[in-house]
Symmetry: C2
Subunit: 290 residues, 2 copies
């Protein structure tokens, strides 16, 4: 097995983006800036927000953090987003999901101005992606593309299988890789697919985003397949200080005696996502400058 | 072979929609209305526009036809669309494509208000389709779904292959059938797919939208496959008065000795498209009433 580690890619992209940002600022532009809204105190969400915050700091981006209690009113969030939409010093707006149940997640994310939707989740952005137009590519699919690029894995004419049809990974991933330029033949499998093996056994590249550990093992794949594991699952583990460990959707160890190339978890796709958010934020600043 | 003729479906849907429209008007609502813009005098476009016009008349819809010479200025089209966007008596706006080369087709279609984009081609609409939200489903994919429904052809858990990745058929078709409720496992093939047979030989349902006659023949399919032929190609035919005949993308006759179910051309998908446009226009009127 070849391990497709992403730490090295993250480092490379971060260095490049940092240099781009410095030169951007040297030219008299304001530093790119990201506003992050966090509701409640879910530990995973806290971690994600902290990671974004730290990435901004390392890159020299401005960041504005907004925190609300669990019982915040929807209208208060909408009012803040409305204000941020109008602010000239904000390039990207991100609402950390999930939101509490009494809040309409769709309504909130759709209220973010299209020009600042650096997560790329709004219908307009997704539509542009689907139509092959310039857009903010959702961060995880964008990160997967960077991994394929870094490891020289071609997609044109290849059999790509995406397992999972979520709005934030599976569907945009499929849309992206079927576009001209990528030119893959893409199949999207879902929970109703009777036999995943029918598709995976013959695939060149398999992208797994189901949120279920053990979705894919080596017996389901060709001996030279490329496996991209998007899953991040917490598994109880008493031997760890924090009481859990992270595993992906792929049975990583089953690939050890194969010729497959596999992204690890942790150390894989997850590392790319924050960096892609930073790239989208830079892009937004670059479009907005003058 | 079983011929999946669509004349009978068109008749049924037209009857239903006519009744719905009558009852809609009886309740004191204005008749649904469609504005159609045609530039130049391409004979195929003329036919399409006439078909839409006639469908409106049969259903009791209002229709506004706008015709421009080939050398119309982009700004004049934009001004008209802007006016139509604002008019309370217009539910749907359609610009017949293709437009002359000096006109930015994207700019024109994107200027149509999202609420009146009954063709469903705008990024916002496509994005909503992709995200599984309420939207105007593009007419051809919507028509294909009606054919599958009428002939009791299930999609859940089925292997669906879409050949062609156009923005108006292939991509929205794939997005639609992979949504919850349809639950198909969808593969999108394109011109870079090395061997179509790898996918078609095993497929339950094959939807062909390449614009190339002879894309699919029976030797590439299972003996019980369902074949939906979206293609409409003009083939020179001196024996016909008009000098051509219409054929699909599928080699229809090659299926004669199989158990496959195949839509004919003409008499197939094409018949559905106009009716779906009318359904979208009705839907728009229904949303707009109060």
């Amino acid at each position: 097995m070849k391990r497709l580690g992403c730490k090295i890619i993250q480092g490379k992209l971060e260095k490049e983006l940092k240099e781009k940002t410095e030169s951007f600022i040297m030219k008299g532009n304001r530093a790119p800036s990201l506003a992050v809204i966090l509701v409640g105190s879910d530990p995973a969400s806290e971690t994600y927000v902290r990671n974004k915050h730290e990435a901004c700091s390392r890159l020299g981006f401005l960041h504005f953090d907004y925190r609300f209690d669990e019982d915040v009113k929807e209208d208060d969030l909408l009012a803040l987003i409305d204000e941020l939409n109008g602010r000239a010093d904000v390039d990207g707006i991100l609402v950390q999901l999930p939101l509490p149940k009494h809040i309409d997640e769709k309504k909130i994310t759709n209220s973010i101005s299209v020009e600042k939707d650096v997560d790329g989740f709004s219908p307009f952005n997704v539509g542009r992606l689907c139509l092959g137009e310039e857009c903010f590519i959702p961060c995880t699919p964008k990160g997967v593309v960077e991994i394929l690029k870094y490891y020289d894995i071609p997609t044109a004419g290849k059999k790509v299988v995406v397992i999972g049809r979520s709005n934030i990974v599976g569907k945009p991933m499929a849309m992206l890789l079927m576009q001209k330029g990528f030119d893959a033949t893409v199949t999207v499998c879902n929970t109703r697919t009777p036999s995943l093996k029918d598709y995976t056994l013959d695939a060149d590249i398999i992208i797994v985003a189901t949120g279920r550990p053990g979705t894919l093992g080596s017996s389901m794949c060709r001996n030279d397949a490329v496996i991209i594991d998007v899953g991040v699952n917490r598994i109880e583990d008493k031997s760890r200080e924090r009481g859990y460990r992270l595993v992906g959707d792929v049975d990583y160890h089953s690939f050890e005696d194969t010729e497959c190339q596999v992204t690890p978890v942790p150390g894989g796709v997850g590392l790319m996502t924050v960096m892609m958010l930073m790239e989208n934020t830079f892009e937004s600043a670059n479009r907005r400058k003058k």
